[in-house]
């Protein structure tokens, strides 16, 4: 049974007539971590803030454990939010930040002390209770913010790009820590990010959003291998998207053609760089190598079709290719889209 259920939720901000969230539906299972992934302005934060109670949906219904929470204020919801800018209360020390919510719940002082110390231990900050917020590093502040939500044992944990302000290295470490804690506590989590590697490495399921709508909801590996729309294909990982026409079962674009068993008409061909083999061609070939980059473990070849459409291919022996050389393309796996939908995969 799903813990959180979002049904047909829309949000139109009174100023400006954008549909920040547009007829969005999602069911999140108990203990599941769902990532909301999408470009800037796609409505991820707005959706998360509606679940937390900080925005009111224009229409639609949200339930937690079957109970309608659509109109409840934040303080009445069993949700816990971690903000991008830690939003810790700078006039209180770490202990007081964590104890505030417990005090409001009239928990006894002994119990507060026990629970705060327990959760500080959990986020790796045992003994930091008396520190001021300003005396912590960025990563530590984000951990305290996480602990502040966790200590109240919310039914649903909401995280809005919690690591966005941290450096790459720290981000990766915290990502793992949060995933560990989330799995240990089996806490149902909604996680907003616009970093695809964050989503791919953490999520049980990914919701790819665009202009307030869902493009695809699937497990990370499925989203990566079987993107349902060209937008998802282009947004997750690197993807060559080549627009062209199909006639008599042959897709063609500027001297490049490949069999594509679909009806005649326009089509967008999608090929991952790692699924594209190249062969040297004597007679000019289908494309010309523009640049070869050697990464040690593999190489990346940038090549241009005859109309200068840029295509990337990953090769294991970059020294076999050099700039200006003609090549033929031998894709091992392709997908094709028409009218924003998948029409063929092989």
């Amino acid at each position: 049974m799903s813990v959180l259920s979002i049904k047909d939720v829309s949000k139109i901000f009174p100023n400006g007539n954008v549909r920040a969230v547009d007829s969005f539906s999602l069911d999140v299972a108990d203990g599941e971590l769902v990532c909301l992934l999408g470009p800037s302005g796609s409505g991820k934060s707005t959706l998360l803030r509606m679940v937390g109670g900080f925005e009111t949906p224009t229409s639609g219904v949200m339930t937690i454990d079957g109970e309608d929470i659509t109109r409840l204020p934040p303080e009445k919801r069993p949700t816990g939010m971690v903000f991008q800018s830690h939003a810790l209360w700078t006039h209180m020390n770490v202990f007081k930040n964590l104890a505030f919510g417990l005090k409001l719940r009239k928990v006894s002082p002994d119990e507060i002390k026990r629970r705060v110390e327990g959760v500080l231990e959990l986020v790796g900050l045992g003994g930091y209770g008396t520190r001021g917020v300003g005396q912590l590093s960025g990563g530590q502040q984000q951990r305290v913010a996480l602990a502040r939500s966790l200590v109240l044992e919310p039914k649903i944990l909401l995280l809005d790009e919690p690591f966005a302000s941290l450096d790459q290295h720290l981000r990766e470490r915290l990502r793992e820590e949060v995933r560990d804690i989330q799995q240990r506590l089996k806490i149902t989590t909604l996680f907003v990010t616009h970093g695809q590697d964050e989503a791919l490495s953490m999520a049980d399921r990914i919701v790819v959003m665009r202009d307030g709508r869902t493009e695809q909801i699937d497990r990370p590996d499925v989203v990566y291998r079987e993107p349902q729309t060209p937008f998802v294909a282009g947004f997750i990982g690197t993807m060559n998207l080549v627009e062209g026409t199909v006639s008599n079962g042959i897709f063609s674009r500027a001297g490049y053609s490949t069999p594509l068993p679909v009806s005649d008409g326009p089509a967008t061909l999608a090929i991952r760089p790692e699924a594209l083999d190249l062969a040297a061609a004597e007679d000019g070939g289908q494309g010309k190598v523009h640049r070869v980059t050697d990464y040690g473990t593999h190489g990346l070849v940038d090549l241009d079709l005859r109309d200068n459409t840029r295509i990337k291919a990953m090769v294991s022996h970059p020294d076999l290719f050099k700039a200006g050389q003609g090549v033929t393309l031998k894709p091992r796996a392709i997908a094709a889209y028409r009218d924003n939908a998948l029409i063929h995969r092989a």
Binding site: F54, P74, E75, T79, G80, M81, L104
Partner: protein, 273 residues
Amino acid sequence: MAATLTHRKIDWTGIAFAVVLTLIIVFPLLVVGTWAFTNVWRYPSVIPQEFGLRFWEQTLARADVWSSITMSLTLAFTVTALSAAICLPAAYAFARLDFPGRNLLFFSFLAGHAFPKFGLLVAIAGIFLQLNLIGTFWGVVLIQLVGTLLFMIWIPVAAFQSVDRRMEEAARDVGASPLRVFWSITLPQAGPTIAAAILLSFVGTFYETEGAWLIGAPQVRTLPVLMISFINNQPVIQYGAVLSVLLWVPSFIALLFARRVVNSGSFARGFGG
């Protein structure tokens, strides 16, 4: 070594400024301060012939001095407390809520200070006369309250606006009601700046003379009003000087507080610094 020495050039313009400023500010204070502790000082001597506390004794022995001190303190406390009770919630509303006529109302608080004050006071006095408020305590409270609106709205609005919205939302998130958020998060965050505003309005009210004189005289006599009448009616300079020194006390206390507030750094933040 030589390089560092030549680089440490003396900033003569800076020093000149400092000296001139010091003279302009400190010299009159010095003269008044000296007069207050002088028993005899006749022309052309540069320093008084006889120092002493004779005029302090005489001044402090007067009943009207004590009653005016009490009056000034009572007025300043009443006005500041009322002003805080009215203005702080209003400032919060201005900072956080959007309602029709918000900007117009906001600028109307400024309007009172945009025109020559005395003319405005005379007009208000006319109205107060009809309301039988002339010469009453509450009449003076009312007129001085108007004078504090600028500080007590403008500064706290800036302070509230600088409080991170996410902090308030985080407090709602852990279960605090809007009122509790205001009390436990917003107010402490904006605290130092608001304390400065309250201090300013207290000191400003304590020194306020025109309104107190125009509306309050002769029944309500504050310390500054009394000082003016001393200076106007008494040939003895020392009376005025002693009262003047007495009037410095709230300023000094205010300065001490202000130092702590300004040092805490959140004061500048309140102004968006």
